[in-house]
């Protein structure tokens, strides 16, 4: 692979380094990139690229296939939001035992994730999502039961981070 940037590296480095150091830095970069050129990464197999082209053709011919999946994700995201709400409720507002709340959430997750008709198209991601939600459910139960040695605040932050992380993936589509 050729260097096609045509940048004057020495001039660029000279904005930050004195003359001789800039020249040396530019040389270091050029020599380093030469090593990368001398050791090319493997190329994708021809059949694999043909498979990608077929996949693209089928996506194009399918028009806009993402709507249902997006709906599934959004419903699942709502389920996740319900979980965090319940978690916060359990953590900060619960005065006594409230056994009826968590089972309602569990039912909601399962319905939300598995109601879609196009699940096979994204089975791996949905399985991962289900696992994530199940783990969160477990953490909520642990919070309720005080199994984490009283470190409730840390767990809440962890839950929030996890949901933000998962939520970010949903909305990216």
């Amino acid at each position: 692979m050729k260097d096609q940037t045509n940048e004057n590296l020495e001039k660029l480095f000279s904005e930050f380094l004195p003359g001789e150091d800039a020249r040396q830095a530019a040389e270091d970069v050029q020599k380093g990139e030469q090593i990368l050129r001398e050791h090319p990464a493997p190329a994708p197999a021809g059949e694999f690229l043909a498979g990608i082209n077929s996949k693209i053709a089928s996506v194009l011919s399918a028009g806009k296939p993402k709507t249902r999946k997006l709906v599934t994700y959004r419903v699942a995201a709502v389920a996740a939001a319900v979980i965090i709400t319940v978690a916060i409720g359990v953590k900060f507002f619960e005065k006594g035992p409230a056994e009826t709340q968590t089972p309602v959430v569990v039912t909601l997750i399962q319905q939300a994730v598995w109601e879609g008709e196009d699940i096979s198209a994204d089975q791996a991601k949905l399985a991962l999502l289900t696992d994530a939600l199940e783990q969160i459910e477990g953490e909520i139960l642990a919070l309720r039961l005080g199994e984490d040695g009283g470190n409730g605040d840390g767990e809440s932050v962890e839950l929030e981070m996890e949901l933000t992380d998962i939520g970010g993936d949903f909305w990216k589509g």
Partner: protein, 176 residues
């Protein structure tokens, strides 16, 4: 100039939903994008998956490319896909760790291809993840340092410094 016009024509074809134009895009960029994924993951199967995901994503996203450097835009998408992969891998590791006691899982994290790894790959893995990534971004996107700095939303001095130190260290490792 003719090259740029040709690329513009291909992109216009992609935007209009022409499979042939996408096929040309695959021919032009699959090798570089695959190289980027492979050098960062060291695993061909994972690189295959990420490359496939990339081009399907491009079908959805090509309409959002308006002007400027197509390669800069493309490698921003490539980089986002790699970061999504890292996040999913991290999440999966945590889930597996958390459920280790409860489940006898046969799911394992993808590892580097041990028999096919070349010497460069071994030495690259000795660099820190961010340095390795910026070096690969620079090399495979063929973007200027200013573009790379923009893509990574960091000052150009930071980008220059990371690439310089990383490549210098890589050369030393390769010469050992």
């Amino acid at each position: 100039m003719a090259e740029r016009e040709n690329l513009d024509r291909i992109i216009a074809g992609c935007k209009s939903g022409d499979a042939g134009s996408f096929s040309q895009l695959v021919d032009m960029y699959a090798g570089r994008c695959y190289g980027y994924f492979y050098r960062l993951t060291g695993n061909r199967a994972v690189s295959d998956d990420l490359l496939s995901e990339l081009f399907v994503k491009l079908v959805e996203k090509i309409g959002s490319f308006n002007s400027g450097s197509f390669e800069g835009w493309l490698f921003k998408v490539v980089s986002n896909i790699f970061h999504d992969y890292l996040r999913a891998k991290h999440r999966q590791s945590r889930l597996l760790e958390a459920q280790k006691g409860r489940l006898q899982s046969n799911v394992s994290e993808p590892k580097a291809d041990s028999d096919a790894v070349d010497r460069l790959q071994l030495q690259l893995d000795k660099l820190d993840a961010d340095t390795k990534e910026v070096i690969m971004l620079r090399y495979y996107s063929q973007a200027s340092f200013r573009e790379i700095a923009r893509m990574r939303a960091e000052p150009i001095g930071t980008t220059l410094s990371k690439v310089h130190r990383g490549l210098k260290k890589l050369r030393e490792l390769m010469e050992d």
